[in-house]
């Protein structure tokens, strides 16, 4: 085509709303609207902040899971990995507390980040070097991490040293200009994730590997490296969630993070990321995490449905989201 013709080409195919990409945000709006109608307390600033803060864990881990799923992988070990990292971090902080005092907290957090990243690296290397399905690999490491935390807590609980509690507590319960710290951390992680995914070469390679690994390989992309790195990002995000988690309850138990992997994967998928890889929506994942938490909150506040059914409703949501996706994308 001549340059004159190209100059007249539209840069995009006009202003077309991509309903598929907006769906999680619309769904979130609808659920919030429903919640407001059911209970007037729902919209109170206090309740709202509470809900958002609680969704932080799933959102932070979900950012990492978005990377893994975008490359066509899957990580089932994240819930157990969280418990394991929490356990290691508490042990490190408790061991350092007598000598370092409150400085044990940042050092322990650093240990958590390293351990989390290493856990992810291990998952990634087994998947790529060992050429084993990520589903199988992370099913295995899920069991390993869970057993390790049970062993470390001796079946009971592993609490953080009393001397550290006061200094550490604000990380979950404190706020900056009214915004709770976990919310700020979530925003930072999501912004960082979005930058890496949408604005860097690595992010471009993530989507290329997920949408067609052969094309990536034939284009000279180091497919194994890209996949492994996604697992490392996942491990790092789990560690960040662990750092925010400890001040909330102050202890690790054998049930810490149990079934979180399902919540995280649900959040990623209802956020619009394709489970087979290739299309990734970081902000959709954050919206997905919020949807799950808001639904639980609405159900607790309403008297109509028993809160024991929260998981059932969340399960129904993922199916409905997929059906809606099928419906909107087949047009």
């Amino acid at each position: 085509m001549s340059s004159a013709e190209i100059a007249t080409l539209p840069e995009s195919e006009g202003f077309r709303i991509r309903w598929g990409d907006l769906a999680p945000f619309i769904a979130l709006g609808v659920i919030i609207l429903l919640g407001t109608m059911i209970n007037s307390n729902f919209m109170s600033a206090n309740n709202m902040l509470n809900v958002i803060t609680r969704s932080a864990f799933i959102a932070i881990i979900g950012v990492g899971a978005t990377f893994v799923i975008a490359t066509g992988g899957l990580d089932l070990s994240i819930g157990s990995m969280l418990a394991f990292v929490v356990g290691i971090m508490i042990m490190a902080m408790n061991a350092l507390a007598p000598s370092l005092g409150p400085w044990a907290i940042p050092v322990g957090a650093l240990v958590a980040l390293v351990v989390g990243s290493l856990c992810g690296l291990m998952n990634g290397l087994i998947v790529t070097v060992g050429r084993i399905e990520p589903f199988i690999v992370t099913l295995g490491t899920m069991g390993i991490f869970r057993a390790l935390i049970t062993y470390m807590t001796d079946g009971g609980s592993l609490s953080i040293d009393r001397s550290l509690r006061a200094a550490y507590r604000p990380l979950y319960f404190g706020d900056f200009l009214g915004v709770p710290y976990p919310v700020i951390i979530t925003l930072v992680i999501a912004l960082l994730g979005a930058f890496i995914l949408y604005r860097t070469k690595y992010g471009r390679r993530v989507t290329a590997v997920g949408s067609n690994a052969d094309v990536a390989r034939f284009s000279g992309v180091h497919v194994g490296g890209v996949r492994t790195m996604a697992f490392v990002i996942q491990g790092f995000c789990v560690a960040v969630a662990a750092i925010c988690y400890v001040p909330r309850l102050g202890a690790a138990t054998p049930t810490t993070g149990q079934l979180w992997e399902l919540q995280v994967i649900t959040a990623v998928v209802i956020g619009g990321t394709l489970l087979r890889g290739g299309k990734a929506h970081i902000w959709g994942t954050v919206a997905g995490a919020l949807i799950l938490e808001v639904i639980a909150n609405v159900m607790v506040l309403s008297d109509m449905v028993s809160e024991y059914l929260v998981a059932a409703v969340q399960g129904a949501i993922i199916i409905i989201a997929m059906l809606a996706h099928r419906f909107t994308s087949s047009r």
Binding site: M1, S2, S3, I6, L9, P10, E11, S12, E13, R199, T200, K201, Y202, G203, R204, R205, T207, A208, S211, N212, D214, V215, A216, R217, F218, S219, G220, V221, H222, G278, K279
Partner: protein
Amino acid sequence: MSLAAPDTAPGRTAPAPVLRAESLSKAYGPITVLSDVTLDIRPGEVHAIIGENGAGKSTLMRLLSGHAEPTGGAMAMAGAPVAFTNAVQAEDAGIVLVHQEILLAPDLTVAQNLFLGRELSRLFAVDDRRMNRRTAEVLAQVGASARPWTIVGDLPLAQRQLVQIARALLDDRKVIILDEPTAMLAHDEVDALLDIVRNLRAQGVAVLYISHRLEEVEALADRVTVLRDGKMIGTWPAADLDQRQMAELMVGRELSMLYPPKREPATAEPALTVEDLTVDHGRITGSFSVRPGEVLGIGGMIGAGRTELIEGLMGLRPSQAGAIRVNGTAVAKPGVGALMAAGVVYLTEDRKGKGLLLNEGLGPNLILQAMDMINPRLRLDRKKEAAVVRSAVEDYDIRVRSLSIEAGQLSGGNQQKLLLAKVMQADPSVVIIDEPTRGIDIGNKSQIYRFIDGLVRAGKACVVISSELPELVGLSDRVLVMRGGRFVAELTGGDITEQNVVYAAASSGKDTEGRKRA
């Protein structure tokens, strides 16, 4: 070419045909892939069907064996009209097709595979003993050493091919169609297979034999039918044809003006030299070099190992190279990245499966391969990406209605141009193109030929793998022909003809007389 008249009228002494096809045609929508084929198949004969890739051989086989329904013409068995709507009906009538690919369940035993879908049973349980006994008989008939209870996945390829033939022989057959039965077999295994076919003929079975290997056809066939471009050229007694004449009948057409004029012979030092490249653990080996200003064509039948050789060079398959030099500099190891850095790029033949991200836009596709060269920093430069898209659309004449279109929405020709633009982003000095115009229309074809000519005239070196003979002949300054994973002939200048390529690709290559005669 002086040939006896085609033997289309059945001779008085010939036995009545067991299967007769009358004006058989097949069209998919407006595209006719086979037209007006009239064919007699007699009991106790080996009838060879030969033709180039895409001549319509497979289509004809599929029609005769009920795997596809004809859109015109009729078939008759022993004089009575028949029409098959599926393969089971044809098998019940006594016609069976043995596929070229191995279609066996690898985790089942030989006997289980043979009786798959038609298991023998006693009361409610399968009767393994009876099935194993019958399997042993059939295996002995084809001379297979496999035992009935061997797991098929543990067998070597040749034995699997025999098992597949044995499966066709389980019931009494009148017509057996063998589609490239020797494609996967080694030399001595081929001889054994030819004996099996002779044995079947002696039992009065009619064998339709499709093969690229003309020496097998010469050794085996009683009659030969030639197809070209979906049309029937004729049927001859095999005794009247030698390999040379078969090749000429298969090709039989002239070059069009589609191709740019040939260039002066290149004399510069080679831009790419590959020595003793071994791919797939020795199955394919080759050495070649290409000079700046030269198009090196690589010809051969499908399955000869051409794509595999280049994929090996690119490190996309297990491979080892004695030496790789690009513009005088040694490249330590095969690999897409290392070779791209040295100046060699490869365009895959599978543009949809391995070349383009169909769900992504032009930009992500264009910059994927040469990303580190276009964009040395960690962060993506979106302005630069947009500029790359604009210049690629202009330089390679990619017809788009908007710059945000996804690659999957482009026509085949525009996809091919996009793929060409993508690898050219790395500013290579050697471009290797596998099937440059597969499945694209004539206008885009001629444009791509002109791009290739332009590259080479600009001092780049180009390697073209093509199964389309006119294209190979029309583009290349030099042609290497591959057969069975080895280069068997090198053609230059006036020797580059379709006949010579087919001859080298399909014949045993022992008869060098034919090549000189052309």
